[in-house]
């Protein structure tokens, strides 16, 4: 089973248990990004998560946005990079940039 199959399986299990779930996906990368386009992070109500969208640098911020998306149902397109205003909090140490799309699983 590849990473994506495992993540979708986990999403199904969470949904079957009645939990709200959001999916974050790397949709664009520039420079040296740790995870390729298509990499996924699934987040369940309560904050449990599987998968990754970086080497661990931005997961905290993405999980927060995912929890908000579960609540309000609105998709989000997030930019992360060294030039980001939040660089001190969630910048990518590698100097790359990534765009992450966060959506509630319906």
């Amino acid at each position: 089973m590849d990473d994506r199959q495992q993540i979708v399986k986990q999403v199904e299990d969470w949904r079957a248990a009645g939990k709200g779930v959001a999916l974050a996906t790397v949709v664009t990368t520039w420079g040296s990004s740790p995870r390729p386009v298509g990499s996924k992070l699934a987040v369940a109500e309560g904050g449990a998560f599987v998968g990754s969208v970086s080497g661990g640098c931005i997961e905290g911020a993405v999980v927060q946005e995912a929890l908000d998306a579960i609540r309000d149902g609105k998709p989000r397109l997030l930019d992360f990079g060294v030039t980001n205003e939040q660089a001190w909090e969630v910048g990518l140490a590698c100097g790359g940039k990534v765009q992450v799309y966060v959506e509630r699983v319906e």
């Binding site: 089973m1 979708v8 996906t25 949709v27 386009v37 298509g38 397109l77 699983v105």
Partner: protein, 238 residues
């Protein structure tokens, strides 16, 4: 994302077909594309459909710009496969490691004492002769083939079938001497130098591997290096 779309796309890939999900990153509208079938609320014009076709062909998910905003195309292609001929000791860690790396693994060995469920719990096994097994499994350009028996009776028909396929990687266990003798036999059977150059033999990267697990690491590393050769090349050129 609609869970139904993800399920349908993964099912298509598991059945050997390709699918894609297109998502407008501004509106969140989404459409599942499978062959000529389209399901969903995101309208796709000719340019979008052409981009989806190209993404599927290159096996590369990507984001494209459209008048209605960026559209993410996520590709679902059939799994990479690893066919291992020879249910020997090295095949045990190799099957586990290749599965972790995302390969659908099948072990082929006509000696049923070797290819047993007890020795390979949960792994797909075939006790057919390799040429018969390959006729059913039909290795393609997303398949890696490794022969581990170093018994010409079993390895040679496997390599013959492998060389007639589009497999992206072919590796054969055996010393330099064993490999030279093997290449002579295959040459006599009609294969040319370019065919024989496709076989990685002795198999694996030279990392001084000694134990079966270490040898499995060296083999999986070589398969990875072959699969990702264009990334290595792009970096060398930069």
């Amino acid at each position: 994302m609609k869970l139904d779309f993800a399920r349908a796309a993964l099912a298509a890939a598991a059945a050997g077909r390709s699918a894609a999900i297109a998502t407008n990153l501004r509106s969140g509208l989404q459409t599942l594309v499978e062959g000529s079938d389209r399901t969903g609320d995101l309208a796709l014009d000719q340019a979008c459909l052409a981009a989806i076709e190209a993404a599927v062909r290159d096996d590369r998910s990507t984001t494209i710009d459209t008048a209605e905003g960026p559209v993410f195309i996520e590709v679902f292609n059939p799994s990479l496969r690893c066919l291992v001929v020879g249910a020997v000791h090295i095949a045990q860690p190799l099957a586990q490691m290749a599965a972790l790396a995302g390969y659908a693994v099948t072990i082929i060995d006509p000696r049923s004492a070797f290819a047993s469920e007890a020795r390979f719990p949960g792994v797909s096994l075939s006790t057919e002769w390799p040429d018969d097994a390959f006729a059913v499994l039909r290795p393609d350009r997303r398949t890696a083939i490794v022969t581990l028996t170093h018994d010409p009776k079993i390895d040679d028909p496997a390599l013959t079938a492998a060389l007639r396929s589009d497999a992206f990687y072919i590796g054969a266990l055996g010393s330099k001497k064993t490999h030279a003798a093997r290449c002579r036999r295959l040459a006599e059977a009609g294969f040319g130098e370019r065919d024989l150059a496709r076989i990685h033999g002795p198999v694996g990267l030279d990392i001084g591997a000694l134990s079966p697990a270490e040898i499995a690491v060296s083999i999986l590393a070589q398969i990875t290096a072959t699969l990702r050769a264009d990334r290595v090349k792009a970096r060398a050129a930069a």
